[in-house]
């Protein structure tokens, strides 16, 4: 998707945002150290896993579905300032039934906002399969009066082309919905093994047949666009880079305690004090 848009377009998504944070310009260290809550994290450890931000990347949002109206609002800002840009607004199959999604669809269509609503359908909202959560699982049709496209989310080139098309469309005609079919190998979060509501066979089958990286790799090799060795080198470089960042993310210091009380509001008056947990703590604060 990123390859089909520019740095001046915006992206907003839900909490499964680490890949997007990286793609939108945060370093691997910035992402990993935010997970470990250290100073070198992209939000200095104050946001954590669910709240990573970058230029034209608005998180990282913890409330399911909330990012959808926010994304429409970002699209509004582009329209308002007459910028030729779009906002990719991503949400999962679990969020797709939220009322506020439909409220955002409605205003986006009425006001012809350059919003691209993308449902990442990975088959499960936490532990609930789409069949158990959604009366209609044709998420590309849920926009009703907003045209929708279904795309194989595991096909890298298809997704790129779909996004390219959607941007061109949205800038001329207003919002569009993309239903991006994908899968989630792991559980919902660190505390979910991911096997109480689906079979291991199912997970294995996707890994073997539909993995996007494996399939892209095979394509490159078959078309002789790259050699095994070239691809192996990329993998090794990436692993090394990530391992180094991971080590640093675990070794870097946390924020000093005073930071607890900072960046609550912009331009706090000099005499403003923030209460700590008891009256002996009245902390100074900075923006």
């Amino acid at each position: 998707m990123e390859s089909a848009i520019t740095k001046d377009d915006a992206v907003i998504t839900a909490y499964r945002a680490h890949g997007w944070a990286y793609i939108r310009g945060i370093s691997v260290l910035g992402v990993l150290a935010e997970l470990t809550g250290r100073v070198s994290g992209c939000a200095r450890g104050k946001g954590g896993s669910m709240h990573m931000y970058a230029p034209n990347f608005y998180g990282g949002n913890g409330i399911v579905g909330a990012q959808v109206p926010l994304g429409a609002g970002i699209a509004l800002s582009f329209q308002y300032e007459k910028k030729p840009n779009v906002c990719l607004t991503l949400y999962g199959d679990g969020a797709a039934n939220q009322g506020q999604v439909f409220e955002a669809y409605n205003i986006a269509k009425l006001w012809k906002l350059p919003a691209i609503f993308i449902c990442e359908n990975n088959g499960y909202g936490m532990g609930t399969s789409v069949n158990r959560s959604s009366a209609s699982t044709d998420y590309y049709t849920r926009g009703d009066y907003i045209p929708g496209i279904w795309v194989d989310g595991m096909d890298v080139l298809a997704v790129k082309e779909c996004t390219r098309f959607a941007k061109e469309y949205a800038l001329q005609h207003g919002p569009v919905v993309i239903d991006c079919s994908t899968y989630r190998y792991h559980g919902h979060s660190m505390s979910d093994p991911g096997t109480s509501y689906r079979s291991r066979d199912e997970i294995q089958a996707v890994r073997e047949n539909r993995d996007p990286i494996t399939n892209l790799k095979n394509r490159l090799l078959t078309k002789e666009l790259a050699t095994e060795d070239e691809l192996k080198n990329i993998e090794q470089d990436v692993r090394k880079h990530v391992d180094e960042a991971a080590a640093k993310a675990q070794a870097d210091p946390e924020l000093p305690l005073e930071e607890l009380y900072n960046a609550i509001i912009i331009d706090p008056p000099a005499d403003m004090r923030v209460r700590g947990c008891d009256v002996s703590i009245l902390a100074k604060t900075t923006a």
Binding site: A66, V68, P69, L70, Y80, N106, I264
Partner: protein
């Protein structure tokens, strides 16, 4: 207002010759203005001043505002600056917050703050907390405004005061203006503030006239957020209030003056950050305190003030316990007599003052 109309009648060419008479005939005398008009003036001026400022909400444009607060703004600025929304609070509040994150300065109107509950996730989780969660990289310069609390004959679902709920949250500023000057100065400050601000107006006050000083009529007139105003100085007891009930306190103070009790009436103006220093200073002078609000008693603004006074050096200056005057602890009834008794009147204040001062 008079000056503006005069200028339109005089052509630019004639202006130079007429300049002297223009300045004398158009001299701004202090004039009275309704709260509604002062809010209108504030928005008009800020929309003219900053191209990023716009207003959105239900009926704000072609209807001129449900309570006519945004009258004529759509006619003047058009669809790009004044946007009617469908009745979808959660959706449009989220859109407003997203626009603010992306650098615009929306004024998001709730027809009443009762309906803001549908959107409260966006006010708190999307607006108030984002600057902190992003470690100071994503500001949200939005204003949420609309009538709060007491109205007349609209019953329980349309009469709740949200001052306590919104002022609970760090990252949010909450103002609660009383007079026309308050409304103009605070709303302008709120719009210019880079933080998310909730502006709690009051529908019953919309039609009330107040004198506006020359200063208040100026297009750059601002009232600082976070500073209370002493509406009336007094030495026997301090009354602290916000919004409409400042008026209730002033009425009670007039009555009490008749029996020789001089009340100091503090208009909070801002609920968060609360100007407790002004309260402490006053209590240290008068040694007695009564808080007055329209909201419910439990976990209310009065409760917060009492807690702060007790934790402060001002506690040692109290000669009597603090008493709160609040809305009755009931959902707002419809029947007139019942509704009358669900909200404080001067009698509740005078009764409380007498109890605190131990006089009959």
């Amino acid at each position: 207002m008079a000056a503006l109309n005069l200028r339109r009648l005089i052509s630019p060419k004639a202006l130079t010759g007429c300049r002297r008479s223009l300045s004398t005939t158009a001299s701004c005398k202090a004039q009275s203005m309704t709260v509604r008009d002062s809010l209108n003036m504030a928005m008009d001026e800020e929309i003219a001043r900053d191209p990023k400022v716009f207003l959105m909400g239900e009926e704000v444009a072609e209807y001129d505002g449900a309570y006519k607060v945004s009258k004529n703004l759509w006619r003047k600025y058009g669809n790009s600056r004044i946007k009617d929304t469908p009745i979808t609070e959660m959706g449009y509040a989220g859109i407003a917050v997203g626009a603010a994150m992306a650098g615009l300065r929306p004024i998001c109107e709730f027809m009443t703050f009762n309906f803001s509950m549908q959107a409260i996730d966006h006010v708190i989780n999307s607006a108030a907390k984002t600057y902190y969660m992003s470690a100071g990289t994503v500001p949200v310069p939005i204003v949420f405004r609309g009538p709060n609390g007491a109205a007349l004959g609209v019953a329980a679902q349309h009469s709740q005061c949200f001052a306590a709920w919104y002022s609970h949250c760090p990252g949010l500023k909450v103002v609660s203006p009383y007079s026309s000057e308050d409304c103009k100065g605070l709303l302008k400050s709120a719009i210019r503030d880079p933080n998310p601000v909730v502006c709690l107006e009051n529908e019953i006050m919309y039609g009330v006239q107040f004198e506006m000083s020359d200063q208040a009529l100026d297009k750059d007139f601002l009232i600082p957020i976070g500073k209370a105003k002493i509406e009336r100085a007094g030495k026997h007891i301090t009354l602290v209030s916000h919004s409409k009930f400042v008026g209730t306190c002033l009425d009670a103070a007039n009555e009490l003056a008749g029996i020789g009790v001089e009340c100091e009436v503090i208009n909070l103006r801002t609920i968060r950050p609360m100007d407790d220093e002004t309260i402490f200073k006053s209590v240290m002078k008068t040694h007695h305190l009564v808080t007055v609000e329209g909201g419910w008693p439990q976990s209310g603004i009065g409760a917060e003030i009492v807690a702060r006074v007790i934790e402060s050096p001002a506690f040692n200056y109290l000669d009597a316990p603090i008493i709160r005057v609040t809305g009755a602890d009931v959902p707002m009834p419809y029947a007139k007599l019942l509704e009358d008794h669900a909200l404080p009147h001067p009698i509740n204040v005078t009764r409380s003052v007498k109890k605190v001062l131990n006089i009959k």
